[in-house]
Amino acid sequence: MAYFMGVDVGSSTTKGVIIRDGVLEARHILTSGVNYRVAARRVMDELLEKAGLCLGDVACIVATGQGSANVDYSNRQVADLRCCGRGIVRIFPTAHTVIDVQGQSTQVLRLNERGQVINFAISEKCASGSGRFLDIIANVLQVRLEDIGPLSLESKNPITFTTGCAVFGESEAVSRVSEGVPREDILAGVHRALAEKISALVGKVGLEERCAISGGGGRDIGLIRRIEERLGVELLVPPEPQFVTALGAAIMAEEACEEEEGA
């Protein structure tokens, strides 16, 4: 029975999964650091280690994400948008809209039942619409990533950022702190800003009843609630949202083999 590997080299983290019969055999995540090649190698070693396999056991490997070109051991590269779609329908077969909040950018996808991308919109060429904005602020507020969401939910009145720039948002957060603004209001301010940008993207591709969230943003309950408020729907949240695209890549690997057999 064949094994398939998906590797997603993202801007901040690199994720990999191995599946067999569509069942998850192993998964691993690590920070991408300053050399994607190294990250890609390490994630492969870890995966094989965990699954107790050697590279030869893996029938096909698909690389995706913005660093996918650095996965020198992959059989093919596939755009992360497509992998994300494949991954999400494997987890939520009826989800036809996905909000994928990545470090580098935020993208909203419309999918058909096969998980194929039938429409999509991507946040603009500026990080203020991406998860990085959140990382930056959390970092300067010294809030651990897992605490961001819960803390933000305590906010009574979220602040409004005067700058569109994620980097300036940092210094603005700093000065708001010095004015004695509570951290939760600042975080909630970021969440609200992101939710607004995201709902605009959703407006472009159209909102489906069943809407899921993936990517690092899917672990942030604060962001999720804000988006739900704006869109008026309950989001489907996968157990491990950050692995959705890697999973999709593995599924793509599976499909690739089937094609070749078919051909």
Partner: protein, 390 residues
């Protein structure tokens, strides 16, 4: 008329903050409300048919979400905001809408509005871009076209007396606005820049008679007032594109400066000359709306039919009124403001700067993206400018 205690400036502030209230009241009483874009639609004819003209504005305090599906982010955020509000049903009390060829995006807004917002009645006014003799004829035809469309919509025709009366009423409004602007000439001015924006926006949200009443109240109140603006080191003239929110002027006046005069379309632009009562009233209206409104969207040239062109003289013919404003209102500096992606004002800036430099008026150019938050960084620019001219 609904129960209203407050008068004058307080009333203006009320209307500014809740501008659709009066329109909705009157609509409940059976009056039809006609929205209009920019200041080119011929309001006199709307008034003459006993319809209520209601100017379309955006809201820079409201994030644009819906409009993204219709207008890309690279177009004028003011117009995107207008459409956004339309899509969010904030203009659902309008019975009709008049758009005009104010600019490329403005021209396409009509079609988008028809497609996505679908106000029952709509008409597009194709105001010519030049002052050629032929253009005046064309504008007249456009005015006639609007007249017929409005009459069809209202189900009655405009009688000559009614139109004359409406022209008189709107001329009165223009005169009253100029009278109010005179109260900005003293130092300190009796009315602040912020208050002026509120009043102008208010009268563009009320029937003309009520607007005139409000202006009279404001004028008499301001003449008497003790709580007017403080004396500041700088008196400024503000030139630029649409400013339908007090935020920018508020920021400027929070510094050591008073905005004492403006050339913007939520300011003096629509009020500084009158419609001439001609034999056929439509001639006077056509001439006024084509030639008297000094928005850069119209191509003006001193050298029409001339084989030679003199740049500085051309600039003088186009912008000397700014010099007059600065002189009469004793302004020591000019702030040139434009909303990002406004092409017509954008192309005008170098010429205005050349002219102001030639007459020795200090100036600075501010570009904003029509969000309240983004105004904050401009503070240091304005303060720096004040330190230069101070």
């Amino acid at each position: 008329m609904a129960a209203e205690q407050s008068k004058g400036l307080a009333r203006a502030r009320e209307v500014y903050l809740d501008r659709s209230r009066r329109a909705k009241e009157l609509r409940a009483e059976g009056k039809k409300v006609v929205g209009y874009l920019c200041i080119y639609p011929v309001l006199e004819m709307v008034t003459a048919l006993d319809l209520m003209p209601y100017r379309l504005f955006g809201d820079m305090r409201e994030p644009i979400t819906e409009a993204d599906s219709y207008l890309p982010t690279v177009v004028c955020p003011f117009l995107r905001s207008c459409l956004d509000l339309g899509l969010k049903d904030r203009y659902d009390f309008l019975d009709g809408i008049i758009t005009c060829h104010i600019c490329d995006v403005g021209a396409s807004l009509g079609g988008l509005w028809d497609y996505a917002v679908q106000t029952p009645f709509s008409h597009h006014l194709d105001t010519p871009h030049t002052l050629h003799e032929t253009s005046l004829k064309q504008e007249k035809a456009m005015v006639v076209g609007l007249k017929e469309a409005l009459e069809g919509f209202a189900g009655r025709t405009i009688s000559a007396p009614a139109l004359r009366n409406a022209i008189t009423l709107h001329n009165q409004q223009r005169a009253l606005v100029r009278e109010m602007y005179d109260l900005r000439k003293p130092d300190p001015p009796l009315i602040s820049g912020v208050e002026t924006v509120r009043v102008i926006k208010a009268i563009q949200s009320l029937p003309v008679q009520e607007g005139n009443q409000l202006l009279r109240e404001v004028i008499s109140e301001a003449r008497e007032r003790r709580d007017g603006p403080r004396k500041k080191s700088a008196r400024l003239l503000l030139w630029g594109s649409i400013l339908d929110d007090t935020a920018l002027v508020e920021m400027i006046e929070s510094l050591d400066a008073n905005v004492v005069m403006d050339d913007t379309c939520v300011g003096s632009r629509g009020f500084f000359s009158d419609v001439e009562l001609t034999e056929d009233p439509l001639d006077g209206l056509a001439r006024y709306y084509l030639t008297e409104i000094r928005c850069p969207r119209t191509f003006r040239s001193r050298d029409y039919m001339e084989a030679r062109k003199d740049y500085m003289k051309d600039l003088e013919s186009r912008f000397s009124y700014l010099h007059d404003y600065a002189r009469d209102w004793n302004a020591g500096g000019v702030i040139l403001e434009s909303v990002r992606y406004c092409d017509t004002h954008g192309y005008e800036v170098p010429g205005v700067e050349d002219y102001l430099d030639s007459v020795g008026l200090p100036r600075t150019y501010l570009e904003h993206d029509y969000t309240e938050g983004a105004l904050a960084p401009l503070r240091t620019r304005v303060q720096g400018f004040l330190e230069i001219i101070g």
